[in-house]
Amino acid sequence: MAILVNEKTKAMIQGITGRQGAFHATRMAGYGTRLVAGTSPGRAGAEVDGIPVYDTVEDCVTKHGANVSALMVPAPFVHDAAFEAIAAGIEILVIITEHVPVHDAMDIMAYAEDRDTRVIGPNTFGVIAPGQCKVGIMPERVYRRGPVGLVSRSGTLSYEIAAALGESEIGISTAVGIGGDMVVGEGFVDLLRAFEHDAETECVVLVGEIGGTAEEEAAEFIKTMTKPVVAYIAGKSAPPGRRMGHAGAIVERGRGTYEAKRAALDEGGARVADFPWDVPDLVASCLKD
């Protein structure tokens, strides 16, 4: 089994008739994802590559049993679309759209919490269970199926690592992008926990970045995990990010730098790679253990 999505997932796309939505509908369906429907208000009755289009998410849920939605509407419409999906009972909402106002993201996460909806993103490449289901915009050919869970804040870097793993003939159970924004739904800890409980996953790769405290919180959780974790953190050489003033430092409390993240992950028991290309060897040694 994968986490979040699998071959039984009934996926839909909000904004399926848009440029992005239509393009990725074809690619997701082509990958074998059970893409059952899509929405585009005012376009009910249309089809995109044979996939039926409705006005409302509720129609997609009641008529096709959609339980996972990839949200691809422009940023100003994400708030409304996300609430619609959550109210309609979507279980996993994958918000691909970038540049979502952060106050909208806070609202969405609060409502999702009320309704027990899991949100991935915003500003994520999505989630893929290789060979089973792709709900996102990642280059699917880099993913080979196997025992490694992959969770990342950044897109391209995780594609790079997935490809490197694949070249070493190491496959992936599920790859998830948590999203690059200040406020996102499922975080590293939530997904590490899911991988910890996933029978197929034997080892987890965490791809982080400087800034924020998500990696430090992950490091705390890794202490409690039975499965090995390999981490890579980008930004060692970057100048201090544009920090959120002194109050931001209060929230970070000295965390957020490369050094702090690295130290926390080391202490948490993760094996930290110096370079992306070191990840496959570290994973291979974990899988051998």
Binding site: G155, E160, I210, R242, M244, G245, A247, A249, F275
Partner: protein, 390 residues
Amino acid sequence: MCPGSDYLKLYEYMAKETFARYGIPVPAGSVVESAEEAEQVAGSLGGPVALKSQVLSGGRGKAGGIQFAPDPAAARKAAAELLGSTIQGLVVDRLLVEEQLFIEHELYLGLIIDPSTRGPLIIASRKGGVDIEEVPGRDIVRERVDVRWGLFPYQVRSITSRMGISGRMARQFGGIAMSLYRLFRGEDAVLTEINPLAATTNGLVAADGRLTMDDDSAYRHPEVPDTHQRTEIEEKIAGLGLSYVPLDGRVAIMANGAGATMATMDILEHFGSRAMNFLDVGGGASGEKMTEALKTLAGTDPDVILINVFGGITRCDEVAESTREVYQSGALRGIPLVVRLVGTNEEEGREILREAGISAHHELLGAAREAAALGGGTATGGDGDGDTSQ
């Protein structure tokens, strides 16, 4: 979080205008652009004034950017000195001329988004006037706010009780906190601070303030001016909708994805070189934009340009076309080009480059090593895993 993420910091005088709009007391004053205006404003304020340089950097006070004047003539003189001076490389072209406050006590009040709890966090202290991160933890009061319902008076009472303030000061602090939360939500702020929140004989006044907006919400606030201070190059690349930050090395970088761009910078540094910029063309930028961005990079006169693309949405053939166009246009004027190109439409891209006489690496390691060697690095650091794909 990464160097490319962008927030819109407002000048002090804009922050205070916004505070006033939400009913938060601020000192009487006006922003001026000349010594004459400063004199006039000081005259109409009718008392000693403070003249505060309007620059978006910290440490303004220590750098001499704030002066006091007992009368309009002195204000004119001080303004003449401040205007045109530079603070941390930023030219002072505006001053905020305000009534000078006589402060009995300084408090702190801030609101920020806490990524861990995915909601607003109030930070307050009875020890204001210094950087809040220098205040001991026991003197800092935190309170989460539920975005479903907003800030409640009972929470404010709890904050002031924990701060150890009471009576009229606590009530006024509470009112200001309620207003600041409304501002935070209403203006799509990611950070706002009042520091110091000054206790004067006339009650609490926002003596200095900071307001940082969420760029992604700018469309909801057309009235907010764009205060980003950009160089000509930054302006040009920002105009293309791409993320660009100038850095201090000699290797110009164009990569896709913020994380991947940072990783490229890290590897260059490992090989003893440094990136000259952060430029992320990810997210499906068009060929024309990449062409423009590359030409602009060439204009910054780097030792070498390193293109690192792992194609996902970004298509290798489009990257290759842009690269060829810039290469053949002569815009590089001999600047060496190192390309690493894999991913979507890789074969087509390599063919285009091959025809133009440009060789491309498969592996990041080899590309970074070559670029670092050309960009002042040692090209020997690291673990010695050679790149044999070339």
